[in-house]
Subunit: 206 residues, 2 copies
């Protein structure tokens, strides 16, 4: 990507398109996506807070979805979470995993990031690639491998299908009563499913 | 919605914006969404095949997503499917339901409709309302009620979370190996989950 001349930005007293500008836009975008959510964040609002011409944001990053994919960061450290989920004195892995996912999604900033990725993945290839990576490389496949069941790739994808679907129905679309249901209630309902996908007999008749 | 004057359409020898035009656009749109899929269908392509000015399509229906919601139809009759799933000589409800859903999604036209609804629901309120209706009114709640377990609303929403998530991960985003997995393999893997949500103990520890 070109950095552009920045002349139009300078002409209105804004931050020039030089060094540090891209980073400043990224920082503002990251905060706005987390605080305002994906639908509530605009290229114009980011440009305004970063003190640059709105066209410069498009020039650096392309579309809003491309900008989102460029700046989004996982709201937790995977290895730390795996260590907690898989601690030797921690049975009930499905229950712990369900509790972690549902708890994460109750934090507004984390929820905005996760729902933003899923919303964007529904229509944009870079965000869809991010969802694939989360499931196959960064989060669920490493977890399934550490648990040690057969066929970890399929287990990770099945876990992903339930976690993505839960997020979609509870937080993106908002289906009653899943949208309002108590977290502990849902942990109990979903834990056996996550346990089944992590360690159950996948290929046999039920 | 207004029907418009149609003068711009007439001036280029196209179909006028009079009676039957809206229906003609709907018919073309329904077919193109089913055959080309949601991403492959354009307002311009629909207008071209319907023989109307592209602006008239927007005038009647608004955005592509609004047009999609206006014309989309379920690719099956729910009551007939429920009767088959719940026939007295048909045990293994989870397995039958998983087979029905996965089989439906292997039909390209049905898959285009279902993935189109889910894609659109990720960003547009009318499509999100359609997903809520499918789960709470038209499909999964009536099914859960006929099965007769406790708390059918929550069971329907949980079923919806798994079915939407499976569609999203297998057909919208395409996560390996779920995207390519054999149908019978997935039926076996998912059937216990659907059984759990339909009839299992939701509120207890696993």
């Amino acid at each position: 990507m070109s950095t552009g001349s920045g002349s139009s930005a300078r002409s209105r007293g804004r931050r020039p398109a030089g060094s540090g500008t891209r980073e400043a836009i990224e920082k503002v975008a990251r905060r706005q996506f987390a605080e305002l959510g994906y639908p509530g964040t605009t290229m114009r609002g980011i440009a305004q807070e970063a003190g640059v011409d709105p066209r410069l944001v498009g020039h650096f990053f392309g579309s809003k979805q491309q900008l989102f994919v460029a700046v989004v960061e996982l709201p937790f450290d995977p290895e730390t979470v795996f260590d907690q989920l898989l601690a030797p004195d921690a049975p009930d892995l499905g229950r712990r995993l369900a509790g972690f996912v549902l708890g994460l999604l109750e934090d507004p900033r984390a929820r905005n990031i996760v729902t933003g990725v899923i919303r964007a993945a529904a229509s944009e290839k870079p965000a869809a690639e991010m969802v694939r990576e989360m499931i196959t490389t960064r989060l669920l496949l490493p977890l399934a491998r550490r648990v040690g069941g057969t066929d970890p790739e399929l287990r990770a994808a099945l876990l992903g299908s339930q976690i993505v679907g839960l997020t979609f129905v509870r937080h993106v679309v908002g289906v009653h009563p899943l949208a309002e249901a108590d977290r502990d209630r849902l942990v109990a309902a979903i834990a056996p499913v996550l346990d089944h996908y992590l360690t159950g007999p996948l290929g046999e008749a039920p």
